[in-house]
Structures are given as structure tokens and as C-alpha cells.
């Protein structure tokens, strides 16, 4: 029992502390790719610290939902950090529920964030909420079909179990169904974490913003919590992508040496994925809002193909 608590706290600590750095790294890489010097990768820490010292301004239109939401966002991400195989293939809260729990935790955060967007009574907030829930709803079927494709071959919906199974049998990863599911899941990650081409995290243009529109009324420590939670979400999604689809050098036990190896491997894989994300975000333009469903339909088709490939090419 104490082992589980320590393990869960350790994973949550890694995710909580490292996630702003990953976000900063993506921003720095993007700046370099377009020829700017850009901020330091450590900049998000300075931003969060600054926000925490600022005064909070709350709209008179809002109810308790608006003040409660930042806490829900942080809580869901911290619990999610205990479910995802970050350091080893046996995350401490793994027994509490697998990938469906994880997706529902993200959905819980989305639910409250969308409510907070509506709560301020501004047209921007409502617009952002409306778009966010529509995109999230369309991403769900893809996630579940990609999961289905993985589950058929690993026989478990436990995230650590999937990682362990594929880590032990690398042949499982060399399969067309596996690659298709990876691409489908990657597109879902772009949609769920509000990256290009679905949403532009660097803009406040009314016509295009989704995530930024919802959090427009937040300020001070509340804004810091919301930003921190979205950094954790990005970190968790990217960790999930690497450790679910390429679970190599992920230790099964949490000895000191294995832990160090696991951390190094994770860091290496995340840097690669961050570079890929930066290149992608530099290369593509944001899609018009009503072209986004086409992108998600495409990822759904990939996931369906992946299931068919897995069933046919046993």
C-alpha cells in the first residue's frame, strides 16, 4: 500500500515538474525552425511563477464553477499521471483503471473547462467551449478503435500491461495495424491537446481559437493552474504515445538503476517526439474549423483500418 502511494506520488511529481519543460522545448524548437531565437525552454516555469504572484480578477457573472475548474483540471492530470506508464510498466494506480479511465479523466477536465468558458458570459468563452466539446466528441471514437486494435493483440486494457506485452515482444510492434493505430492516435493527440492544425496554441485570434477562448477570463494563480494542467496533458499524451506504441527501455520494476534508465529513455523519446511535433507545427497551417472534422474522420478511418488489419493479418 505504501509502495503504491510512493509510486503514484513519484510519477505525479515527475509529470508535474517536467511538463512545463517539455512545453518550453516545443516552443524553443518551433522558434528555431522559423529562424527566431525564441525563449529559453525554461521560460514556462518563469511564466507560472509570475502568474502565481499576480492578483486574481474574477468576472461578476461567474459562479463557483469558474473558481472550482482550475482545481479539477490539476486534479485530473495528477491522477492521470498515476495511471499512465511514465517511469515503468507498472504505474502505481494502474489497478484503478486502464485507458478508458484515462480518457474519462481527460474528459472530466474538458467538461469543467467548457463549463468555465460558458460561465463568464462572454461570447468568446461560449465559442471556445462549443468548439472544444465538438472536437473532443469526434476524437473519442478514434481513441477507442485504436485501443481496440491494441487490445486485440495484447489481451488487456491495462496501460502498463499493453506496454509490457509489446516491450517483451518487439515483433508485435512491426505490424501494419500497430503503425496505423499510432498515426490515428497521434492525430487525436493533436486535437486533444490543442495543437496545430486543429488549434493554434500561440494565437488569440477570435475566429480561430478554441482552448485560448475558453480560458480568456482566467488570471493570476488560476491561469497558472490552467496552463500547468494543459502542459501536463501534453506531457501525458506524448508519454502515452511513446510508451504505448514504442515501449522499449521501460523498466518493469522501480529500482534506482532501472528508474534512471527509464527516465533517460523517456527523456530521449520525448525529445524526439517534441522535435517531430515542432516540425509538423511549422510545416502545416491551421485548418479551418469545419475542416477539422475531416481530419478527425481521416484518423477514424485509419483506426478502423488498423482494426481490420489486426483481425485479418493475425
Amino acid at each position: 500500500m505504501t509502495g503504491a502511494i510512493v509510486g503514484a506520488l513519484l510519477q505525479a511529481l515527475v509529470v508535474a515538474v517536467a511538463s512545463p519543460l517539455l512545453l518550453g522545448l516545443v516552443r524553443t524548437l518551433k522558434a528555431r525552425l522559423v529562424g527566431r531565437r525564441g525563449p529559453d525552454p525554461w521560460q514556462p516555469y518563469a511564466d507560472l511563477a509570475k502568474l502565481c504572484r499576480k492578483e486574481v480578477v474574477i468576472s461578476t457573472a461567474t459562479s463557483w464553477i469558474f473558481r472550482f475548474t482550475p482545481f479539477v483540471l490539476v486534479a485530473t492530470m495528477l491522477v492521470a499521471a498515476g495511471v499512465v506508464p511514465v517511469l515503468g510498466t507498472r504505474p502505481a494506480l494502474s489497478f484503478a483503471g486502464g485507458i478508458i479511465l484515462l480518457m474519462s479523466l481527460f474528459m472530466l477536465g474538458t467538461f469543467f473547462l467548457a463549463l468555465a468558458g460558458l460561465d463568464s458570459g462572454s461570447a468568446f468563452g461560449g465559442m471556445g467551449s462549443s468548439r472544444e466539446v465538438a472536437v473532443a466528441a469526434l476524437a473519442e471514437p478514434t481513441v477507442m478503435l485504436a485501443v481496440f486494435a491494441l487490445v486485440i493483440r495484447t489481451g488487456t486494457t491495462n496501460l502498463g500491461g499493453v506496454a509490457e506485452r509489446i516491450g517483451n515482444e518487439p515483433a508485435l510492434a512491426a505490424h501494419p495495424g500497430h503503425l496505423l493505430a499510432f498515426v490515428a492516435f497521434f492525430i487525436v493527440m493533436l486535437a486533444e491537446t490543442g495543437r496545430l492544425p486543429v488549434d493554434n496554441p500561440a494565437t488569440h485570434l477570435e475566429l480561430t481559437m478554441i482552448h485560448e477562448a475558453m480560458i480568456l477570463e482566467y488570471s493570476g494563480p488560476y491561469l497558472a493552474m490552467v496552463e500547468w494542467a494543459s502542459a501536463m496533458k501534453l506531457f501525458l499524451f506524448m508519454t502515452l504515445l511513446t510508451n504505448l506504441f514504442a515501449p522499449w527501455w521501460v523498466p518493469a520494476d522501480l529500482g534506482a538503476y532501472a528508474l534512471l534508465l527509464g527516465l533517460l529513455a523517456l527523456a530521449g523519446k520525448l525529445v524526439l517526439l517534441a522535435a517531430a511535433l515542432a516540425v509538423l507545427e511549422t510545416a502545416v497551417a491551421k485548418l479551418r474549423l469545419f475542416r477539422v472534422p475531416e481530419l478527425l474522420a481521416g484518423s477514424f478511418a485509419l483506426a478502423l483500418l488498423s482494426v481490420a488489419a489486426v483481425v485479418l493479418l493475425k
Binding site: C52, R53, E55, V56, V57, I58, S59, T60, A61, T62, S63, W64, I65, F71, V72, V74, A75, M77, L78, V79, A96, G98, L101, S104, M107, L108, T110, F111, A114, L115, L118, S120, G121, S122, G126, M127, S129, S130, R131, A134, A136, L138, E140, P141, V143, M144, L145, V147, F148, V151, I152, G155, N158, L216, E217, G220, P221, L289, F290, L304
Partner: protein, 610 residues
């Protein structure tokens, strides 16, 4: 109640076979559902209305008899009693606009369903030579496949129309909102589940073990209902109609479990079939709890704010804190979010559907993949739907004077909502307590072993190491997660004062409710993405100043969507019926002598034929 069996026979009470009641675990489960929903609904009614005092007990009594009925006559009498009593209750809110039209549509649909049931049951009784359900399952094995299929299709049509399965759902979104709210809660929470019970009885009991396509058909119908129901719910403006459409969605989810159970049962996978049935029963119980809660809260909104139109609500979370909290909890539960009960049963349904790889057949895998995608889409859209219902209805600034003057409802109505909210929380946190009982019910129904509960008191285990779920741990972890940032901020010495100021309005001087996003606008992305289904019609009238077209004097915007089932299925059928009636009119004159002649002629024809 779930374990003990008893029987009651009163041969003289009902003609032909007598009144016959029999308790088995499945009947006990549905009886529990009736009772557990009826208690809060009745408490609520004390503070809500005095109307329908005669029909309400009759409605409750007939709903309690339906699961127990052991022969055809008892069943049909209780079934019809349930329909007539609820018809009277729908009509009792006669000051509601459209209540009489709603009651009329309801009466027609429910009797079309009854006709299917009557035909199926009489055929079965004729072929097996018995009116008792207990004799049917033994005799069904001796019947040919076409006969069993025919009876199954008839019974499934009858029961599915009661359950509100698409496309037989048209009565549901008109009848449920028209009834008083506590009756809506019972109709959506319990009555439509009795249709599901009928499907369960027909598919696993009365007709023996059927071919896999019965289960596949139910799964496909369930998928269509789940996605279709929530798609109509997400664009609906009337709060109670929105809830009624979402009932269609949830019946679809239940049917996915029932259908999957029948497929697994037919394939000889007993343990999985039990699991699937458990998922379906759990969702039935959960839906009864959270849908009743939502309907009661919607009734409180209608009472407190005087309207159910989302465009005229807003700001109620402050004016009606109890109702607001109840609606939020119900919304979280119905959107299948942890740690509430809707999440547990949808999680179980997903675990069942994901295990189809144990039947190595491509076509079944694709059907299950479709169901998985449908369930995921329905779950995602349910989140959109209830963010909209709560966010537009209860948050931000009031959109009308009525909403701005809203008052919290009285103690009885609040107590009923608190009771149901506690039930939602309990069913969410305690699956390890509930599941063994449901497992026993399902195992008795299918005649296989019960699934094992988890390794300890907090964890549910599904099919070995396939999946585990620990709701108390999730709830505990979430509580810690909520507390942690508060502690961190305190340690870091973040300023604790808070300045209140109006929402940023792009420099406009006045920030009013007219700047808020509307319910129609909120649903716009979904409506545009699925426009083939809604076929939206937009009407925009602009009256410009004669001097310049840039000076707008008046602008009117109208928007409507069309129902696919009504246009493509019901309109042609009704048209054909009207045409037929017009033809038959030729032989109607109104003179008694002519009708006597018809009777004589018919008699002669029958005598000749005989």
C-alpha cells in the same frame, strides 16, 4: 428480493388462465428499479402537484406487476394498464401546450407495439399450447427456426417500441416531456426499462437460446439509438425534451450490452455473456438513478424559473443552488465521468465489447468495432450535450426576467433530488458491492456461473487480467488532487484577495446576457458536422432602411431541424394509411341495413371457406 423465488396463483381473478405472478431474480431486479425510483418520485410529487392522484398509484402498481407476470394474460393486462395509466398522466398536464397531441401519439404508438406483442405471444401460445411463460422455454427448442424467428421479431418490435429504440422512438420525445416531471422521471427511468426487460425475456428465456443474429440485430439497433438519440438531444432547446432524447441514447447503450450478451451466449461463452448482461443491468439501474434526478431537477427549473427553454434560462446555479448542484451531478453521471455511476457501467460495456476477439470471426469483429465506435461517439456527444444543458441553463447571466427572478423549490422536491444524487454517488463508488448481486441475477438468467468479484473490497476485476477498476481509489486520488494545488498556492504565498470585475467585453460599455453564447449557437458545430442527419433549415429576414441597405431596421432569424425517421419512415406509412382509409370510405354509407348486409356476406364467405 434478488435471491428469493416465490409464486402466486389466483385462478379466478383473470379469465382464461387466471392471475399468475412469479418472482425470480430478474423480476426482483426490475421490481427494485420500480421501487427505488418510485420513492423519490413520490416524495417529489408531494411538493409538486396534486394532479393525477388516481392514475399515479395505478401506474406504479402496473409497473410492479409487469416484471412478475407469469402468463400471457396477466402480462398483457399489466402492460396495458401501465400504458393507459401513463397515458392519463401525460394528459393530466393539460395546460401544457401539445399535451393532448403528445398523448395521442403516445396512445397510437403504444398500441401498435401492443398489437405486435399480442400477435407474437398468441402465436407462441398456439404453437406451444400453453399460456404460461415457464412452459415456453422448454417447448421453444422443439419449434422450427422460422417460427422462433417470427415470434422473436414480433416481440422485439413490441418491446423495442416501448423501450424507445430508434426508429420506433417517435412517441418518447413528445410524451415524456408532456407528463408532470415526477412521472417523466418514472417513464424515462423505469417504464422504458421494462421494454428492455421484455427483450431480455424474449431473447434469453421464452424462446431459448437464439441464433447470433438476434443479438447482432439488438446491438445494431442499440448503436443506432445511442448515436441518434444523443445527436437529437444535443440540438434540443427544451430541457425536458433534451432529457427524453438522451433516454433513447441510454436505452441504446443498455441494448448494446444485452445484444452482446446474446451473441456471447449463442457462441457458448457463458462468463462473457454474464458480464455483458451485468453491464446492461448496471446501466439500466444507473440510468434510472441519474435520469430520474435530471428530470426532477428539470421540473424544479420549470417550477422555479417558469420555463424549460434553454434560451430563456441562465444564472440558475446562483439562484437555485440545490437544483443546480443536483443537475450538475446528474450531468456528470450521464456524461460517464468518474467517479460517478454512469462511468462504471459504460466502462463495463466497453470492456465487454472489447473482448469480441474471443470470437474469431471477422464479421462479428466489425459489428463490435462499429458498436465500440458508436458507444465512444455517443459518450463524447453526451459530454457536449450536458455541458450545453448545464452551462447554458445554469451558468453566466440570466437570459430572461423569469430566470433572473427564479426561486429555489421547496423541501420535499429538494429531498427527492438529494436522495437520487446520493444513489448516483453510491452506485458510482460501490461497484464491488453491486456487481456480485447483478452477477447472480445474470448467471441465474443464463444458467451459468457468476463472475467473480475483485481481489479485494475496492477493486473490480474483469475476465482475469483483462481490466481492473477501483472507484474508491479514483475518488480518493481525485480528492487529494483537488487539495494539492490549494496547499501549494498557500505555501508559495500566492495573494489570496480576489477582485471582482465584469467580463471583458471588447471595450463595450455594457455587458448583458445578449452577449452570451446561445444554446443554438453552442450546438452549431455538431449541427454542421452532422447536417445530413438534421438537414437544418435556416431562415433569415433582414428589413433594411430604404435609404441604405447597411441600416438594418429589423432582423429575424429562424432555425429548425427535421427528424429523419418522421420524414422517411412515418410519413410514407401514414400517407399509405390515409390513402387506404380514403379507398375504404367508398363502402361506408352510415346506413344500418347496409352494414347488416356486410355482416351477412362476411359470414357466408367464412362458412364457404370453412
Amino acid at each position: 428480493m434478488l435471491g428469493h423465488a416465490w409464486a402466486l396463483e389466483v385462478p379466478w381473478l383473470v379469465p382464461l388462465a387466471g392471475l399468475s405472478l412469479r418472482m425470480d431474480p430478474l423480476a426482483g431486479f426490475f421490481l427494485l428499479l420500480v421501487g427505488a425510483t418510485a420513492v423519490p418520485a413520490s416524495i417529489y410529487a408531494m411538493g409538486y402537484t396534486r394532479r393525477g392522484l388516481g392514475a399515479y398509484p395505478a401506474f406504479l402498481l402496473s409497473m410492479a406487476v409487469v416484471p412478475l407476470a407469469a402468463n400471457v394474460l396477466t402480462f398483457l393486462l399489466a402492460w396495458e394498464g401501465m400504458a393507459l395509466a401513463s397515458y392519463a398522466l401525460v394528459l393530466s398536464a393539460h395546460d401544457e401546450r401539445d399535451a393532448s397531441r403528445a398523448a395521442w401519439i403516445y396512445a397510437v404508438m403504444t398500441h401498435a407495439g401492443l398489437a405486435c406483442l399480442l400477435a407474437g405471444m398468441l402465436l407462441m401460445a398456439g404453437w406451444t399450447g400453453s399460456l404460461r411463460f415457464a412452459d415456453w422455454s422448454a417447448a421453444a427448442a422443439g419449434l422450427g427456426a422460422p417460427a422462433r424467428n417470427a415470434v422473436f421479431v414480433l416481440l422485439a418490435l413490441g418491446f423495442a417500441s416501448k423501450a424507445g429504440v430508434m426508429p420506433l422512438h417517435v412517441w418518447l420525445p413528445v410524451a415524456h416531456p408532456a407528463a408532470p416531471s415526477h412521472v417523466s422521471a418514472l417513464m424515462s427511468g423505469v417504464m422504458i426499462k421494462l421494454g428492455v426487460m421484455g427483450l431480455l425475456r424474449a431473447g434469453t428465456d421464452w424462446l431459448g437460446v437464439g441464433p447470433p443474429w438476434w443479438g447482432v440485430a439488438l446491438m445494431l439497433a442499440g448503436t443506432a439509438s445511442a448515436v441518434g438519440g444523443v445527436l437529437y438531444a444535443v440540438v434540443e432547446r427544451d430541457l425536458k425534451r433534451l432529457l427524453a432524447f438522451s433516454s433513447i441514447d441510454n436505452v441504446g447503450i443498455i441494448l448494446m450490452g444485452v445484444g452482446a450478451g446474446m451473441v456471447f451466449h449463442a457462441s457458448g461463452l457463458g462468463a462473457l455473456a454474464v458480464l455483458a448482461l451485468v453491464a446492461a443491468l448496471y446501466h439500466a439501474a444507473n440510468h434510472a438513478a441519474f435520469k430520474a434526478l435530471l428530470f426532477l431537477a428539470a421540473g424544479a427549473v420549470a417550477r422555479g424559473a417558469g420555463t424549460r427553454d434553454l434560451e430563456a434560462l441562465g444564472g440558475l446555479a446562483k439562484r437555485m443552488p440545490w437544483t443546480g448542484a443536483a443537475f450538475l451531478l446528474g450531468s456528470l453521471a450521464i456524461a460517464a465521468l468518474p467517479p460517478l455511476n454512469g462511468f462504471v457501467s459504460e466502462w463495463l460495456t466497453f470492456q465487454v465489447l472489447l473482448q469480441t476477439m474471443r470470437i474469431p470471426r471477422l464479421e462479428l469483429s466489425l459489428v463490435f468495432a462499429l458498436a465500440i465506435a458508436g458507444l465512444a461517439l455517443a459518450a463524447g456527444l453526451a459530454v457536449a450535450c450536458f455541458v450545453r444543458a448545464f452551462g447554458i441553463g445554469f451558468l453566466a447571466l440570466p437570459r430572461s426576467d423569469a430566470a433572473a427572478q427564479a426561486r429555489e423549490v421547496g423541501g420535499a422536491m429538494r429531498a427527492a433530488m438529494v436522495l437520487l444524487a446520493a444513489l448516483c454517488l453510491g452506485l458510482g463508488l460501490g461497484p464491488t458491492v453491486v456487481l456480485p448481486h447483478l452477477g447472480a441475477v445474470a448467471a441465474q438468467r443464463l444458467g451459468t456461473g457468476a463472475p467473480l468479484p475483485g481481489p479485494d473490497a475496492f477493486t473490480v476485476t474483469v475476465s482475469g487480467d483483462f481490466a481492473t477498476l477501483s472507484m474508491p481509489v479514483i475518488a480518493l486520488a481525485l480528492t487529494f488532487g483537488l487539495a494539492l494545488p490549494a496547499v501549494l498556492l498557500r505555501i508559495m504565498g500566492a495573494p489570496r484577495n480576489m477582485r471582482r470585475y465584469e467580463t471583458w467585453g471588447c471595450g463595450r460599455l455594457l455587458q448583458t446576457a445578449r452577449m452570451e453564447y446561445t444554446a443554438i449557437a453552442f450546438a452549431s458545430p455538431v449541427r454542421r458536422i452532422f447536417d445530413f442527419l438534421y438537414r437544418p433549415q435556416t431562415r433569415l429576414e433582414v428589413e433594411a432602411h430604404p435609404g441604405s441597405r447597411f441600416f438594418v431596421r429589423r432582423m429575424a432569424y429562424g432555425h429548425s431541424t427535421r427528424a429523419l425517421a418522421e420524414d422517411w419512415l412515418y410519413a410514407p406509412v401514414l400517407g399509405a394509411l390515409r390513402l387506404g382509409a380514403a379507398r375504404v370510405r367508398a363502402i361506408q354509407s352510415g346506413r344500418i341495413n347496409l352494414y347488416l348486409l356486410y355482416v351477412l356476406a362476411t359470414l357466408i364467405v367464412f362458412l364457404v371457406l370453412a
